[in-house]
């Protein structure tokens, strides 16, 4: 032990361990920075999405919520507020209007902003809290409907309230997509005076809760076991499918970036331990000669490795911590104003990953190192262990696989990345071997520096192959990240283009369709796409009546109890993807349903089940012939259940449409409602700008994480070239001794590096394209676009990058006098 420590100290002082140390530090720093940062960004994004709930979590009930829930939230150190909402007539003078009345307590909203203005369409300012007792706030639609002015008195039931402000933005207004009436907001204490709440009134009660993630999940656990009938808990991911979809993609991508950093780490460590072992062959032979046993040598280096791994991991983790702090500082105000404090978990993770990688890649060569033939002291050509090739990386590969699965946090994603990596290694062995063979046959036909450059590549085929695959893995990871990133951003942007629909119109009667068409034409707006909507309640699956009590899950119970919005369609839409079964053909007359995958899972509906809906008193039955996946984040009209035209066409239907209303043309809505008084127009512009803001921030976060991974990748490539520096130094020294000019040497090296880089580039581009295709199809659910540039960038970038890194790492090769190199290598 003491000797191991002394040797470690001596070797590190002599700079023997520097490359290994740097590789590990870079690796661990990359892993932990991404880990820390994604941890914080994820927390921040979730908390920003929570603004759309006005809380981190809400408890929703159809009756007053027992005070114990609020008391317990306080006991957990959480903040809370409560609201209730119900429809009622608002009267002003002789005019009246049905409104959705919302009473809010002090503290509302807990998350997000409540904005108001002091006059209709006046300047907007943030509100500190809801309306004071005795006052009311109305939204613009209510103001217009009743012709209200600030300061006027309105009647709500038996109460008289003074209108104090216009609501410009209400964070949780979007919570229910089809809330149809305009809003009147009052203080919760004024509700009693209205006498509007009677037994049987349709009132929604909400308890808003916010605070630390740990306390929240503890509270949720506590509350879930105490929920009574009609009570349920929602977090952001339960409530907002379109936000959830965006967040999930972001998390997957960030997870992918972290994976890539882990792979880069593994490549760096593998290359560094290879060099370490090669450099220590002589030492081992000498130690054996001096009487050290195999076990002693193994112990000696094992202790060195563990201490080295611990030290490097600690330094790497600290750099990672500092790095993400700097990144967070730089991102301040871009993602959110303050990122939440990171947990310390990534530190431990970095330490574990560093040590694990070092041992997994270091141990197998170490086992070989101890059995270096002692005769090597007499005959230097002896004793480069044969298995130093790819086979000795088996344990390392298995460990990387484990780390990958762990970092992916999801078996499917991990398996895909793993399959991609194994594909590159196998393909690399085949393709690389083939290419090297071609190059070896080429060298007979070229002269001068080309001969030496290509000879260098072809001479040590196994070593070249290992290097090519190492380079290719790193390069592939980077290319893949670029490709997927571009696709991801493009897909997000196209899913929410600036002219995405921002108004929904519902309640359109079939006989109004031609006049609506004319209205849009007259307003020079594109004619809207109209979808039929049939209200129906699911009453039986496979002829067996269903009952809410049959479902343990709260969401399933609600779905069974309420009416569905059904639709019919002849063709499947582009933002819907069939995941099982098939869509009906145009002329098919059979009664069929297509069900959204998520709801099918919740309700236990399988392909070929027969669903019975009760629609306006009659029963309609059809077979489920397809399951669909729906992109909820397109903000377009979508339906959970769609029937074949033959099945639903004859049922009483209304129509729904969404369209884009350019800013500044809001007055048009008044004309629309005047002409079609039964229409209800829903404004989703505010929600959309929230969703878009989240997407933009996610895109920025993704870009930054990507840049960091790119940087880590370049450092690792540099380290990889450094790993072969000794061999190159020696070769160059021999060649210079034999009379090669500096320029010839430089050219030969240049050719060697460029060839290695280009070969690695071909492999990496192939691997990245295939992986991107699979990832897009199977994990991220985005359309795959073939990108020929990946080949250009892969080959040119690979050649240029490795040449640059190579020439930098070996520039001393050209400067060092050959004698000193030869003496050093021989000594």
């Amino acid at each position: 032990m003491k000797l191991a420590l002394r040797l470690l100290a001596r070797e590190s002082r002599a700079g023997e361990l520097t490359l290994m140390f740097i590789a590990l530090v870079v690796a661990v720093a990359a892993v932990t920075t991404v880990s820390f940062f994604t941890d914080r960004v994820r927390q921040a994004l979730t908390s920003q999405a929570n603004q759309l709930l006005a809380a981190d979590m809400i408890l929703i009930s159809d009756h007053p919520i027992p005070v114990s829930f609020e008391a317990q939230a306080m006991a957990f150190g959480l903040s809370s507020a409560h609201t209730l909402a119900f429809p009622s007539m608002v009267i002003q003078g002789t005019r009246n209007q049905l409104a959705e009345v919302k009473g809010v307590s002090l503290g509302y909203p807990l998350r997000g902003e409540l904005n108001l203005s002091r006059a209709l369409f006046g300047p907007v300012e943030p509100a500190r809290s809801g309306p004071q007792p005795g006052t009311a706030w109305a939204d613009a639609r209510l103001m217009q409907a009743l012709g209200l002015k600030i300061g006027e008195v309105i009647e709500l039931g038996q109460a008289r309230l003074t209108l104090a402000a216009v609501i410009a933005k209400e964070p949780d207004r979007a919570g229910d997509f089809f809330n149809i009436a305009p809003r009147l907001m009052v203080h919760v204490d004024d509700i009693a005076a209205t006498s509007l709440i009677q037994p049987g009134s349709r009132v929604g009660y909400r308890l808003l809760i916010a605070g630390e993630a740990k306390a929240l999940s503890a509270y949720r656990k506590w509350a879930e076991t105490r929920l009574a009938r009609g009570e349920r808990i929602e977090g952001v991911s339960d409530a907002r499918p379109e936000i959830r979809a965006a967040l999930e993609r972001a998390e997957r991508y960030l997870g992918l970036a972290a994976l890539v950093s882990a792979i880069l780490a593994a490549v760096a460590v593998a290359l560094a331990s290879r060099q370490f072992v090669l450099r220590h062959l002589d030492s081992c032979a000498v130690l054996r000669c001096l009487g050290a046993s195999q076990a002693a040598i193994f112990r000696l280096y094992l202790i060195q490795f563990v201490i080295l791994g611990l030290a490097a991991s600690a330094v790497g983790s600290l750099i990672g911590f500092g790095g993400q702090a700097g990144l967070a500082e730089f991102m301040r105000g871009r993602i959110v104003n303050d990122l939440p404090t990171p947990s310390l978990w990534p530190l431990a993770e970095g330490l574990g990953v560093g040590l694990l990688l070092l041992l997994a890649f270091g141990l197998p060569p170490l086992m070989r190192l101890k059995s270096v033939p002692t005769l090597r002291v007499l005959r230097r050509e002896l004793g480069v262990p044969k298995q130093l090739g790819l086979a000795s990386y088996a344990l390392g590969a298995a460990t990387v696989a484990g780390v990958l699965m762990y970092r992916a946090g999801e078996i499917k994603l991990g398996l895909y990345v793993l399959a991609g990596l194994s594909g590159v290694v196998l393909g690399g062995l085949l393709l690389g071997g083939l290419l090297l063979h071609v190059i070896a046959s080429l060298r007979g036909r070229v002269r001068g520096v080309w001969f030496y450059g290509l000879a260098n590549v072809g001479r040590r085929r196994a070593s070249s192959l290992t290097q090519i695959i190492g380079f290719a893995l790193g390069l592939m990871a980077l290319l893949l990240l670029t490709l997927v990133r571009g696709d991801l951003l493009a897909s997000w942007q196209s899913s929410l283009p600036p002219d995405a629909p921002n108004r929904f119109v519902i309640n359109i009667q079939p006989d109004q369709l031609p006049r609506l068409e004319q209205f849009f034409h007259a307003q020079k707006l594109e004619s809207p796409v109209l979808y039929p909507m049939v209200r129906g309640r699911l009453v039986a699956i496979n002829e067996r009546p269903i009952n809410a009590k049959d479902y343990p899950e709260e969401r399933a119970q609600r779905l069974v109890e309420r009416e569905f919005n059904l639709s019919w369609a002849a063709l499947v839409r582009s933002d819907n993807r069939i995941t099982a079964g098939h869509w009906w053909r145009a002329q098919e007359v059979a009664d069929q349903f297509s069900v959204e995958q998520g709801i099918a899972e919740t309700l236990g509906i399988k392909l070929n089940d027969r669903l019975t809906y009760e629609i306006a008193g009659t029963r309609v039955t059809g077979r489920v012939t397809s399951l669909r996946k729906v992109d909820w984040d397109t903000m377009r009209v979508n339906f959970f259940v769609i029937g074949s035209p033959a099945l639903l066409q004859t049922q009483p239907a209304t129509y729904i449409t969404s369209f884009h209303l350019p800013a500044g043309r809001e007055a048009l809505l008044n004309d629309l409602v005047r002409q079609f008084p039964n229409f209800t127009v829903i404004d989703v512009a505010a929600i959309m700008s929230d969703v878009r803001a989240i997407m933009e921030r996610v895109s920025e976060a993704v870009t930054f994480v990507f840049l960091f991974t790119l940087l880590a990748g370049l450092v690792v490539l540099y380290a990889a070239v450094m790993a072969t520096r000794d061999e190159r130094l020696y070769e160059a020294a021999v060649m210079r001794t034999l009379g090669a000019a500096t320029r010839q040497l430089a050219n030969a090296q240049w050719i060697e590096f460029a060839t290695l880089g280009a070969l690695a580039g071909v492999l990496a581009a192939t691997g990245a394209s295939v992986s991107a295709f699979v990832l897009a199809q199977q994990v991220l659910h985005l359309p795959f676009v073939f990108n020929p540039w990946v080949w250009v960038v892969g080959v040119v970038g690979g050649a240029a990058g490795i040449t640059l890194a190579g020439m930098m790492a070996t520039r001393s090769v050209l400067r060092t006098p050959p004698l000193s190199v030869l003496r050093r290598i021989n000594a």
């Binding site: 002589d282 130690l287 054996r288 050290a292 005769l375 050093r824 000594a827």
Partner: protein, 226 residues
């Protein structure tokens, strides 16, 4: 009985398998060396000198035959057993010095003592480095030393454990003749002072003539000196 013999080689044969068929490097070699003798193994390049030295030191195993060191059969022991025996009673000097590049001169000399668990490694190493005239270069790394200096460090490392048997493989092969002569003086002086047995491989006839006797190898056969 055979106590006065420090090395007994009996019918040593070494055959290696090559693609073109088996190649016999050493043919049936037998000889004995007494304690305190100085013996040179001489012969042309490729005659099998270094292979023989490797077998005597237990660095390699013969195809057949046996070697006894201080009466102990070498090839009955496993590699670790042979390593321990080497640590106990053999010292080595190589043509290519074989100093560890990451250790200073002093640390290189301390290494065998430390491997044996010695407590006074530093002072003993310092004493012998002073003795070989490198007292002022102790903190230098091998690459900062000249070839002659490196070989003197190697000699110090070989003698620091006070081995009964010193094996040297072309100790002057990488040195110019003046430096080589100095190194040889040192080697013999130390050998005399410590009463060790010296066995060296060389094709330098002047060096061989300073030894008590020579074993001459020709194409893997012992032709004189046994």
């Amino acid at each position: 009985m055979s106590a006065p013999f420090i090395i007994q080689a009996e019918q040593l044969t070494k055959t290696v398998a090559l693609e073109a068929g088996p190649l016999t490097i050493l043919h049936d070699i037998s000889f004995q060396i007494k304690s305190g003798e100085s013996v040179a193994i001489v012969g042309a390049s490729g005659s099998g000198k270094s292979t023989l030295l490797g077998l005597l030191a237990g660095l390699d195993e013969p195809s057949s035959g046996s070697v006894r060191v201080k009466g102990e059969a070498l090839f009955v022991l496993d590699e670790d057993g042979r390593a321990a025996l080497r640590g106990r009673c053999m010292g080595f000097v190589f043509q290519s010095f074989q100093l560890l590049p990451m250790l200073t001169a002093l640390e290189n000399v301390m290494l065998p003592l430390e491997l044996a668990g010695s407590n006074d490694a530093r002072s003993r190493a310092q004493r012998i480095l002073d003795r070989v005239g490198l007292g002022s270069r102790m903190q230098h790394y091998p690459k900062q030393l000249s070839g002659g200096e490196q070989q003197r460090v190697a000699i110090a490392r070989a003698f620091v454990t006070e081995p009964a048997l010193l094996l040297a493989d072309e100790p002057t092969g990488n040195l110019d003749s003046a430096t080589g002569a100095n190194v040889i003086e040192l080697l013999f002086a130390l050998n005399r002072e410590r009463g060790a047995t010296l066995l060296l491989v060389t094709h330098d006839t002047a060096l061989a003539s300073r030894c008590g006797r020579s074993l001459r190898l020709d194409a893997g056969r012992l032709v004189a000196g046994a």
